[in-house]
Amino acid sequence: MTARIDRIALLAVPGLAYLAVIYALPLLMLLAKSVQTAEGFSLAEYRAFFADEYNLRVLWRTLRVAALTTLLALAIAYPTAFVMSRAKGPWLTVFLVAMVLPMSLGVVVKAFAWSILFRANGFINTSLQWIGLTEKPVRMLFTETALVIGAANVFLPFMVLPIYAVVRQLDRGLPEAAVSLGAGPFFRFFNVTLPLTLPGVVAGSAFTFSMAISMYVIPSLIVGERQQTLSMLIARSFLYLRNEPLGSTISAVLLAIAIFVVVFSSWLARRLGART
């Protein structure tokens, strides 16, 4: 019996060995390199990074934009997932197509489409003036708001689908039971429906947040070089400045945030899973 089980475990070897060599090992080497100088172990690069006010501003902006993007996506995705779970026939098709079809439009073209919309003479400004909401064009391109809207648009399906997966399997009897026991709509939502759907919310939010802290193409097309993000700093130090130690340090900082998100969200998902 053990022999057969061991043979099955061996099937995981090719894939795991691949990821160990072509993914985990390079990342570990990057981390090692960022604390290594000619003289040996040193945190000097990190001290220099965190001592620079400009870097701290970029770090803060990156986190803020990612958090706002996640919140906006969640606010749109949560009700949408519920409507999708009740939708039938052609309506369901419309929702599903809207989730998947935009993925065929590359992120470069999508971000560019948003930059067209946000231009001073772009569609949004022209419409606003036509309705009479503003007289002069509103400056939208190059702003953080534009970036958050564009990013939420790109990541939205990755927020909706995990929540939809959970809502679809939600036992309709539970909210109904709460009602028959005299629960009002608010009590029922906050004490029954929301806790049951939280695993989907955590999965979608973690995924959206980790993609948003590391996005590069969307900010470079919507806000440009004026408002850097961590990813843009990394790209700049490697591709233009040729400053590899700096690039490695920023990469390590970004990696640390991403690993924290993964560990924290999977811990949270396990706890929520244990409760239900």
Binding site: I5, Y18, L27, P79, A98, N153, L156, L161, L221, V262
Partner: protein
Amino acid sequence: MTQTDRIFRTLSWIVALGCVVFLMLPIFITVAASFSASPVYTLPPPEWSLRWYASLERRSGLWDAVVLSLNLAFVSTLISLVLGTLASIAVTRGNFRGREAIATFAVSPLMMPGLVVGVALLQFFREIGLRDAYVSLLLGHIVITLPFVMRTLLASMAQFDFSMIDAARTLGLSYPKAILKVLVPSLAPAYLTSGLFAFLASMDNYPISIFLTDARNKTLPIKMLQYLEEQPDPSLAAMSSGLILLAILVLVFGARTVGLNRMIQG
């Protein structure tokens, strides 16, 4: 149903319909711009024309990028499907410690910053002396496609009744044959879904690829961004519209064969 319920339901529908419009907006803009007669992106276009579709013929650099990206996406997805199937069987059926950890590890590249993975691979490949851009790109793209495949296959295999494999073996099939003839066909929707998402993720990857390309091997997103910086005319919109049309055909095929909902949920 109370008054409050009705209000919430109406609000939810408004948000959901807004969501659909919001998601489809970039597609409408791109398709509208592709039929524009103007060399700059103005909406709505002053006049309609097919000139940017005709101009695609001359953009040989773009076509090279399309071919390279399709090639990378196809080969890396195929390799991931094989590696992913084996690893998923081990995690689902194996009886050893650390199976949870393996699953988390295999899916984790999805949540790692692409640029950081790209930088790490660049330094690693330089260290081991790998200079070939195509091989570097392919190795990097498997890191992107494998987690998509693993995520869907792990979920689907958890629901697969493995006693069917045992039945097939009792009837005389070897274990590999039983996997190929029983497991793979019954997980067809999962293969279609994960393959499609992996393929699209590879086609669309910028942050890892940017560090692994050379002058001759530029993938589509890299070429597109460069093109937008140099001459932002609507040829790109025309080409993207072509790719959207292709995606619609794939979706129609998927909806006909396995059903859209099953396809999207794996």
